[in-house]
């Protein structure tokens, strides 16, 4: 594919934006991580074609980039749902029952960690400490924090988003 065009020949805006992200960081030391962060924000995850573009641009082997992506829990290789749920598994949340919350979520949504529901509405992942230990256990949905959770509170929260559906998302 040519730079900035997609298979049908139209201008691929995302690819152009990725290009400018890479240009912005390119000549700095340690450019890879910020580029991966911004690329993930742009695409919602880090597909192989994006990894390959970054590899070419930074002259870093693809296998190394893939190694970095899989090393950090923040990066995702799979597309995310409209609502991305991140359950904190930091120490405080963990000891206050985060795994019960996680279990409930998996059961309710019918997906495992790292997966996305069939309708594309929810994806589920775990994350490290989000810095809200006072509210443990904590989860975030699209960046919005829900604290002092227990399995019983999950239903209501999920229902709210289900009602909201695919609208009202930036």
């Amino acid at each position: 594919m040519d730079k900035g065009t997609c298979c049908c020949g139209c201008i691929d805006e995302k690819e152009q934006m990725l290009e400018s992200i890479m240009q912005k960081h390119k000549n700095r030391k340690g450019a890879l991580i910020p580029i991966l962060h911004e690329a993930q924000e742009l695409y919602g995850y880090l597909p192989l074609k994006v990894q390959r573009k970054i590899s070419e641009s930074l002259d870093i082997p693809l296998s190394e980039i893939y190694g970095v992506i899989t090393f950090y829990a923040q990066f995702s290789l799979k597309p995310k749902g409209v609502y991305n749920i991140q359950v904190c598994m930091g120490t405080a949340c963990y000891v206050r029952g985060a795994s019960l919350v996680l279990e409930k979520l998996q059961e309710r949504l019918g997906i495992h960690i790292g997966e996305c529901t069939e309708d594309g509405l929810f994806s589920l992942e775990v994350c490290r400490c989000v810095g809200a230990c006072g509210l443990a256990p904590v989860m975030m949905i699209n960046g919005e924090v829900y604290g002092t959770l227990n399995p019983e509170k999950i239903e209501k929260i999920i229902e709210k988003y289900e009602k909201q559906g695919k609208v009202q998302v930036k």
Partner: protein
């Protein structure tokens, strides 16, 4: 180099200031155990086996990465160090697949050796065993993550030396695994199958795809006419498998062993190497005279060919169309030889003993079947041949010397030196010089293309022509050279590229030498020395003077570059996709 004064175990030493503690200790014959360390390739202090006490330092330090400095005081032995090393090793062993009895690396395993040296009698910890899937889809290399100790030597070899980067560490913590991206097989990523990863693996996590069973079966099949050919680099390394010093020439014993194994004929791939020189030399002269694509780049190394198809498709037209010598030989065995002997080529089974794992991949390329049958039916590495010799109960060291069979057993010194970096270039120069000047030149040792320097350049005066040549070995060096040519910073008539550092003598199928040995001996250099000795002892040292090759052209092929020669001895290449589509 500035020297510094240090003290190790009370011994006062003066060492260059760029040394690590490990280097200083080894120079003073003080032994420090290592595991992930591999001189010049992997120096990352990951495994913590080489920990020592450094005076003034709060915790143990890894000797392989800790730089010396003036006044440094080090202890390499103490009860605390001993205990720490032992626990570390026990932890590594705690989730290691300990099927040592049947492991391909039993006897050459560095982990096994270390466990013995550190006197591990009991593994106190029973780690959780994750059964990880094996990757045996590649025709050349088998990856067994259950035996991997995550030393990262293979990663470093693949990424930093070969600049292929087919594998890296993936995931983290307990889930860490050395793997291609997306858990793909080596077969689905641009692995060039050079097998250098195998040579540096301390354990049995990487090994060649076994072909010994196929060959045993063929040997037992009375309907087949089994012939075997051996590459030049095998004869200077096979002895190592039987405890002989590095660089021992065992040509006669190797031939004797192959005959004992039951091969009907034992031939020398060097004969085909001579043929390659005539074909490739002719190609070079034609391209120079007719303004063809230059530089002409050699095509004997299948790892290099695959690398070129993946990463430098723009150079595919520069590649010589010559098949690699053993494939040429296979095609001739199933045509010329079969006709001459009155054998049905369908009933022939050609085995190549090669220092190379990439030849296993090459063998199954569909285009390498000139007679309608695969040119070569099975490829054994030097290591696999050694295994078969042991299995057959042959006492290798006491075998009498025997000679290659006729016809097609005759080869020249030029064919032999194919096994070392610069060898193909030198062999070609010996022939091209004679053809272009129309006389037999006496000066045939082109020392400027020999040696272990990564990229070698030479300008050679042949008659009116000043031939510009370059030699690269190791794919990292190949990259450098190709980039230079691409950017117009260099131009040559003729370029030799070998995938493995040091050339075939250090191929991915050669006997494994452990880190400890590789730290003090340059194995490529020692084996190459034996190759050049072999060359010097040959009565004929120029390919075009090989009477067997001359006869072959007269009786069968016509002349170099003829239609028949093209049919049997030449091939073609195509760009190769590197990764499958993954959304």
């Amino acid at each position: 180099m500035k020297m510094v004064n240090i003290k190790i175990d009370g011994k006062e030493l003066q060492v260059p200031e760029n040394y690590t503690i490990l280097e200083a200790a080894r120079q003073a014959n003080i032994s420090i155990p290592t595991l992930c360390y591999l001189k010049g390739i992997n120096e990352i202090g990951a495994c913590r086996m080489c920990i020592v006490e450094v005076k003034g330092s709060r915790s143990f330090q890894a000797a392989c990465v800790y730089p010396v400095s003036e006044g440094l005081e080090v202890r390499t032995q103490s009860p605390a160090i001993r205990e720490a090393r032992k626990v570390t090793l026990e932890l590594i062993l705690s989730n290691h697949d300990r099927s040592c009895l049947t492991c391909v690396r039993s006897r050459t395993c560095e982990l096994q050796k270390l466990a013995e040296e550190l006197n591990i009698k009991d593994i106190r910890f029973n780690g959780e065993m994750q059964r990880k899937p094996m990757d045996d889809f590649s025709p050349s290399i088998v990856r067994d993550p259950n035996k991997c100790i995550l030393c990262r030597r293979c990663v470093s070899m693949c990424k930093n030396i070969q600049k292929v980067a087919a594998i890296d560490t993936v995931e983290r913590g307990f889930d860490t695994i050395v793997s291609p991206i997306y858990n793909l097989s080596l077969n689905e990523v641009p692995c060039v199958t050079c097998g250098q990863c195998i040579n540096v693996c301390p354990v049995g996590a990487l090994r060649e795809k076994d072909s010994t069973e196929i060959v045993w079966d063929a040997l037992a099949n009375k309907d087949l006419h089994l012939v075997v050919q051996t590459a030049p680099a095998v004869r200077v390394a096979l002895g190592e498998e039987f405890g002989m010093p590095i660089g021992t020439r065992v040509t006669g014993k190797m031939v004797a062993a192959l005959k004992q194994l039951g091969f009907a004929k034992v031939f020398d791939t060097d004969t085909a190497a001579d043929l390659t020189i005539l074909e490739e030399g002719t190609e070079l002269i034609n391209r120079i005279k007719e303004g063809g694509k230059l530089p002409l780049i050699t095509s004997c190394s299948p790892g290099w060919i695959k690398f070129c198809e993946h990463f430098y498709p723009e150079f595919l037209d520069n590649l010589s169309t010559c098949k690699s010598p053993h494939e040429m030989f296979g095609a001739l065995l199933k045509s010329y030889y079969a006709e001459k002997m009155g054998i049905d080529p369908a009933k022939m089974f050609v085995v190549s003993v090669m220092p190379c794992t990439a030849k296993k991949f090459e063998r199954q390329r569909p285009e390498l079947a000139s007679t309608g049958y695969p040119d070569v039916d099975a490829v054994l590495t030097t290591r696999e041949l050694a295994r078969m010799i042991r299995e057959a109960g042959i006492d290798f060291k006491s075998l009498p010397d025997e000679t290659f069979d006729d016809p097609m057993g005759e080869a020249t010194g030029a064919g032999v030196i194919f096994g070392a970096t610069g060898g193909v270039m030198e062999a070609a120069l010996r022939t091209v010089a004679d053809i272009l000047t129309g006389k037999s030149n006496e000066d045939i040792e082109y020392t400027e293309v020999r040696g272990i320097e990564g990229i070698k350049e030479a300008k050679i005066k042949i008659g009116d022509l000043e031939l510009k040549a370059a030699v690269a070995h190791g794919l990292g060096n190949a990259r450098k050279l190709l980039d230079r040519i691409k950017s117009g910073k260099a131009d040559y008539h003729f370029v030799e590229i070998m995938a493995c550092p040091g050339g075939c003598v250090n191929g991915g199928g050669q006997p494994i030498q452990i880190s400890e040995v590789r730290s003090v001996v340059d194995i490529s250099k020692e084996r190459a020395k034996a190759i050049y000795e072999e060359d010097r002892d040959m009565p004929i040292r120029k390919s075009h003077e090989n009477p067997q090759v001359q006869k072959l052209y007269k009786e069968y092929l016509g002349e170099p570059g003829s239609h028949k020669a093209h049919e049997l001895l030449h091939t073609h290449y195509a760009p190769r996709e590197s990764y499958p589509d993954i959304p």
